[in-house]
Amino acid sequence: MTDDQRRRFDQVYAVHHAAILGYALRRTGNADDAADVIAETFLTAWRRIDDIPAGEAARPWLYGVARRVLANQRRGEQRRSALGERLRSELAAERFHREPPPGLDGVAAAFRRLGDTDREILTLAAWEGLDAGQIAVVIGCSRNAARIRLHRARRRLAAALHDTRTAFAPELIRGNS
């Protein structure tokens, strides 16, 4: 370990920990799982510190690691991390708001009707604010493939919104289809 590597890790951690914690909480709503995601993600980041892209490109790289940690959790392949006990206990004391805001029940219902793949790519765009190139880094595909998947997912969401007869569909279709 060199001082440069330590400084690099400190900077990556300080800049991106909130984004990774937010990513985890938005997808797990569970203190233990979220704590594991942030711990395992930054453990990987530390082990591979020289591979992390510079600047803001580090964020989608970290999301990609967090995504794999989450996938392992869901398959039951992730052991509970021994790291971050204090973080886990602080998160356990919080309650995460999970109900859709008033007036967006129809959007939430339409969103739930989509497949996992569509939901993931839509949330990467809407919740993490990523563009197609950044999404490609996260999910490990080409930029063009990410762009096509995002376009198709938006079309399917628009269709689902039509089916739920919400008032949002016309604006939605004008906005992004």
């Binding site: 370990m1 590597q5 330590r6 400084r7 890790f9 900077q11 300080a14 800049v15 909130a18 914690l21 909480l25 938005r26 711990a39 930054f42 990987t44 530390w46 082990r47 591979r48 510190i49 020289d50 591979d51 510079a54 600047g55 803001e56 490109a57 964020r59 989608p60 990609g64 794999r68 398959r75 790291l83 971050g84 204090r86 973080l87 602080e90 995460f96 999970r98 859709p100 805001p101 959007v107 939430a108 969103f111 949330t123 765009a125 809407a126 919740w127 604010g129 563009d131 190139g133 950044q134 490609a136 880094v137 490990g140 930029r143 969401l157 949002f168 604006e171 939605l172 906005g175 992004n176």
Partner: protein, 245 residues
């Protein structure tokens, strides 16, 4: 309102809210545990792939995309830092002019009905000693830094989500950034109609520390101006080198 905006309202928690849930002490302990306990793998080690391996062509494409993003971000920062030139649609130097107006202590709101151009950012001193920062366009971060320092806030402002290389993180205490120094006014994490707003309490910045405000642009198409995207806040160790950055 487009679909991304609609879906953003369904997010159970924003990054900013997530960060406010845990203390800096807990985050610092985790970082220390990682560094103390984890041997590093060889730098050239391949990414762990739970699914099928990425073929060489796809890997090249993926990393080419990542590099393009990095170059684009660096170019954006270079433009912003090169003397306050607007990213688009403004007059050269307008951000600096705004800063000079902003420090005068008068009301920062244009008079109703007045024919004015919205300023890139304003800093308003509140009666309780807090400074309200409103950013409408990512212009002249160094001017914003100078304005805040003139108003008593020891800050480092960067036009990216990385603090200056000359600085290091300050770990002098246990605090929750969202509670003690910086309070964003829009708890949804989305820019309000007025832009991105937050409060700084200069008196609460710990001795020996500089408050770092990182203004990111993640998620915006290239060439699109406007308020910053994600923001990062933290404390940096106050020393002469960092103070000059």
């Amino acid at each position: 309102m487009n679909d991304d905006t609609l879906l953003s309202h369904l997010a159970p928690v924003t990054d900013e809210q997530a960060a406010a849930l845990v203390s800096r002490q807990a985050l610092g302990e985790l970082a220390d545990e990682i560094i103390r306990g984890a041997p590093r793998q060889p730098a050239a080690g391949p990414a762990r792939q739970p699914t099928r391996p990425v073929n060489p062509t796809r890997r090249r494409l993926t990393w080419a995309a990542a590099s393009a993003v990095a170059v684009g971000a660096a170019a954006a920062v270079a433009v912003i830092a090169s003397g306050g030139q607007p990213a688009s649609g403004g007059q050269p130097g307008s951000g600096v002019k705004t800063a000079q107006n902003a420090t005068s202590g008068s009301s920062q709101r244009p008079a109703p009905g007045a024919s004015t151009t919205l300023t890139a950012w304003t800093v308003t001193e509140n009666p309780n000693g807090t400074l309200k920062v409103t950013i409408r366009e990512m212009e002249d971060p160094s001017g914003l830094q100078a304005t805040l320092r003139a108003d008593g806030a020891r800050v480092v402002v960067t036009a990216s989500l990385a603090w200056p290389a000359a600085c290091s993180e300050w770990r002098g205490g246990n605090y929750r950034m969202g509670d003690q120094v910086v309070q964003t006014e829009n708890r949804t994490g989305l820019p309000s109609a007025d832009g991105t707003e937050f409060l700084i309490r200069p008196s609460d910045i710990p001795a020996g520390a500089l408050l770092w405000v990182g203004l990111g642009q993640t998620g915006k198409p290239k060439g699109v101006s406007g308020p910053p995207g994600p923001m990062s806040f933290g404390y940096l160790t106050a020393n002469e080198v960092c103070n000059r950055s």
